[in-house]
């Protein structure tokens, strides 16, 4: 490692002196800034982008046993994954989970934020209550909701009394299912239990975002609308909520990258589930790499996850850069 860094410093050293734009003169401030940024840039280059590259390289190799084998395999590992029952199920689950999770977080987040915005008594108390689950780790949430939604304990004892027998995350049914590839595509009932737990944990975050957004809308806007005879409901529907659209974009981006990479919640709460109804790529990657020693397959899953997150993040980064300049 030391050697790698030493090399990086050698190659990066001279480039510090080269100013980005020829017209600008290199001032003391620039140099200071560079001096402070360079170490982190180097570390990120090696430990983030270097290892992303490494993972990509492994994903194209034949390393699927305890003995490293870096011979070139082409897209074999990717082909295997997309033909694999488990991975197809993972893609379905991630997609459904992401859509339901983001949708529910936005709706409940907006709803609670609007309620909190009514200048009520004890607002900060409620804000803390809603925000508190955020302080927990997903593992804790997973364990708690595993018990709460366990078919033989928790809320089900109550639900059984009133004649509802729900199997929550042990349910293997797929709603609105149709055959797609090797799997049945649709909404796995079991994933709804996981969505409930995830929304419980993350809603506080979207409440906070929307509340900040609501506070950012000047009172004059509402008053003007009231003068024009709009009802409170109309004000929210026609004026406030459209004004909150940028907040929604941010919430979607942040929630999407959480839900596409989700691992801990699922691992603690349900595991892969019967017939892989609650399996996600993260869990598959962990098991195939560290239990099965399929390092190249695991690396390929990691790269697919990276690309799926990038689909959300990169356009956002580009548009926010444009906004800056």
């Amino acid at each position: 490692m030391e050697q790698v860094i030493a090399k990086e410093t050698q190659t990066a050293g001279p480039s510090i002196g080269i100013p980005r734009k020829k017209k600008r003169k290199l001032t003391k401030d620039h140099l200071l800034v560079l001096a402070f940024i360079t170490p982190s840039i180097l570390f990120i280059t090696v430990f983030v982008y270097g290892f992303i590259g490494w993972t990509g390289y492994v994903s194209l190799s034949n390393w699927n046993s305890l003995v490293p084998d870096f011979s070139y395999a082409g897209l074999k590992n990717y082909q295997f994954l997309f033909n694999d029952f488990r991975f197809q199920a993972d893609l379905r689950n991630t997609l459904i989970f992401t859509v339901l999770f983001i949708g529910a977080s936005i709706v409940t987040g907006q709803f609670l934020a609007v309620l909190l915005d009514q200048k009520i008594k004890g607002e900060s108390l409620f804000r803390n209550i809603f925000f508190f689950p955020m302080a927990l780790s997903f593992v804790v949430t997973g364990v708690v909701w595993q018990w709460l939604l366990n078919p033989s304990t928790g809320v089900n004892l109550f639900m059984k009394k009133i004649g509802l027998d729900s199997r929550w995350y042990t349910d293997t049914n797929i709603l609105a299912g149709f055959q797609w590839g090797k799997i049945e595509f649709g909404i796995p009932v079991a994933i709804i239990a996981v969505v409930i737990a995830a929304v419980w944990q993350m809603t506080g975050f979207s409440v906070a975002m929307y509340l900040a957004g609501l506070r950012g809308i000047p009172d004059e806007v509402r008053e003007a609308a009231r003068m024009d005879g709009a009802s409170e409901f109309q004000i929210y529907r026609k004026i406030i909520l459209p004004l909150l659209r940028p907040i929604t974009v941010s919430v979607v981006i942040i929630m999407a990258h959480i839900s596409l990479k989700i691992f801990d919640l699922i691992y603690a709460m349900t595991g892969s589930g019967a017939n892989f109804v609650t399996d996600v790529p993260g869990v598959y990657m962990f098991e195939t790499t560290f239990r099965g020693n399929y390092y190249a397959n695991g690396a390929a899953i990691a790269i697919i996850m990276l690309i799926s997150v990038a689909i959300f993040i990169v356009p956002y980064l580009i548009s926010s850069r444009k906004g800056e300049s």
């Binding site: 030391e2 200071l32 360079t38 699927n64 305890l66 003995v67 366990n150 017939n275 892989f276």
Partner: protein, 425 residues
């Protein structure tokens, strides 16, 4: 002024480099420490097993006070975490002095095949171990005629645990054949009792039931042929076993996928379910955690049609290549393989000794019975625990079983077993 700036830059780099070099130098001192201490790598961190390991280390320290030992156990994931740590250390040529590994494919097709182990035939010779373990067991830790590790303990995988009270109240006998099993199961089901408890949140438990059915239907000899490719997975006998497994699955608890094996054992303990197929670590759970009495609250028989056969799960320790102080490691392995060592470890861990000449009086009734069976029985390596086939294959079987438990598609299951068997060479 400019000088100052360059000085800052230089300082920053110097700091960076020193940060790196200090971490690597601490790595060096770590190595020095390692070469001084024998690092015993395992995943024995649970209640009884940790005590067993400590007793073993204590025994060794009494015998060799000049060889310091370091207990490098890694907790969690039923060994998965430890195996991940071990894999990266072995690949980085930084092996622990010795490490826990299941006898069979996990050792032979994993580390021995990768060229990471030293043969220890001379140790067996010196300590006279060759006739102290059953021959089948020595075969499980040998590859190409060379022996690579010392077995410490034996767990039995093909045990059917049943709730005695439930069986007595309903006037039932513990089943020994598949016909009896289904007869008993039907009677229990009619009474509203779950016949068979299963907790397959982690799918290996279902794989374990499957391998016991395979053993019962095929017998140990044919069962062994599955793993060296002599018997195909679409053989009619295998398909028959799968059909039987499928029928068994219609007698399990509905919430099986939310339970782990302990939760499933609880169902049997409480009498909500009548039977449970689990390795004999379940006895430790029944006795120590649930405070039940052997042969009073719960009873045990071999799983259907496996009487006289023994599904073996054995923890062994070997000598990795490139370890400094290999002689000290061998001293430790010798203690592991001695009667004293095995009798210090196993009663606490709740397993039986791998040696057939250990002191029977130190074990409870279940242990005594099992030791008796172990001497005479035909040994079969467990698939679910990585002894019959490489880990990669086991992972794929676990996946196929997980799908089968829900879909019950025999044809699809046979196909995925066949497809995965390209891993068996």
């Amino acid at each position: 002024m400019k000088k100052k700036i360059w000085l800052t830059i230089v300082l920053v780099f110097a700091l960076m480099l020193s940060a790196c070099s200090s971490s690597s130098s601490s790595g060096d001192s770590g190595d020095k420490k390692d070469s001084g201490k024998l690092e015993i790598f395992s995943w024995w961190t649970g209640a009884g097993e940790e005590d067993g390991l400590k007793a073993l280390i204590k025994l060794f320290e009494e015998k060799y006070p000049d060889v310091p030992i370091e207990n490098a156990a890694v907790a969690g994931g039923a060994g998965t975490n430890a195996k991940a740590v071990l894999a990266s250390r072995m690949q980085g040529n930084d092996p622990p002095a010795t490490f826990q590994v299941h006898g069979g494919a996990e050792l032979n097709e994993g580390w021995v095949k990768a060229g990471k182990m030293e043969p220890i035939d001379d140790l067996y010779e010196k300590e006279g171990l060759n006739d102290k373990f059953p021959k089948d067991l020595i075969d499980m830790v040998s590859k190409d005629g060379k022996i690579y590790s010392v077995p410490v303990n034996i767990h039995r995988g093909n045990v059917l645990w049943y709730n005695k009270k439930v069986f007595e109240e309903n006037d039932l006998e513990a089943p020994t054949t598949f016909d009896e099993f289904f007869k008993v199961a039907d009677q229990l089901k009619a009474k509203g009792i779950t016949p068979l408890a299963l907790g397959d949140k982690e799918p290996w438990t279902a794989t374990q039931v499957f391998e016991n059915v395979l053993l019962g239907k095929l017998g140990a000899e044919e069962y062994l042929k599955l793993w060296n490719g002599e018997l195909a997975f679409d053989d009619p006998k295998v398909v028959e076993a799968i059909e039987t497994f499928k029928k068994m699955l219609s007698y399990i608890n509905e919430d099986h996928s939310s339970r782990n094996w302990q939760d499933a054992s609880q169902l049997v303990a409480k009498g909500e379910a009548a039977m449970n197929m689990m390795g004999d670590w379940a006895k430790g759970y029944f006795v120590n955690d649930l405070k039940l009495k052997v042969n009073e609250d719960f009873g045990y028989v071999a799983t259907p049609e496996t009487e006289g056969q023994f599904m073996v799960i054995t923890d062994t320790f070997g000598l990795p290549k490139g370890v400094k102080k290999a002689d000290d490691v061998k001293k430790f392995l010798a203690v592991l393989g001695s009667v004293e060592g095995q009798d210090a470890f196993n009663p606490l861990k709740g397993s039986i000794p791998a040696r057939t000449d250990a002191d029977v009086s130190k074990y409870d009734q279940y242990g005594k019975d099992t030791m008796e069976d172990f001497k005479a029985a035909k040994l079969a390596p467990s698939l679910a625990h990585g002894s019959a086939a490489p880990e990669g294959y086991v992972t794929k079987v676990n996946q196929a079983v997980n799908i089968f438990v829900t879909q019950k598609d025999v044809k699809g299951f046979v196909e995925s077993l066949k497809a995965a068997s390209s891993e068996l060479k």
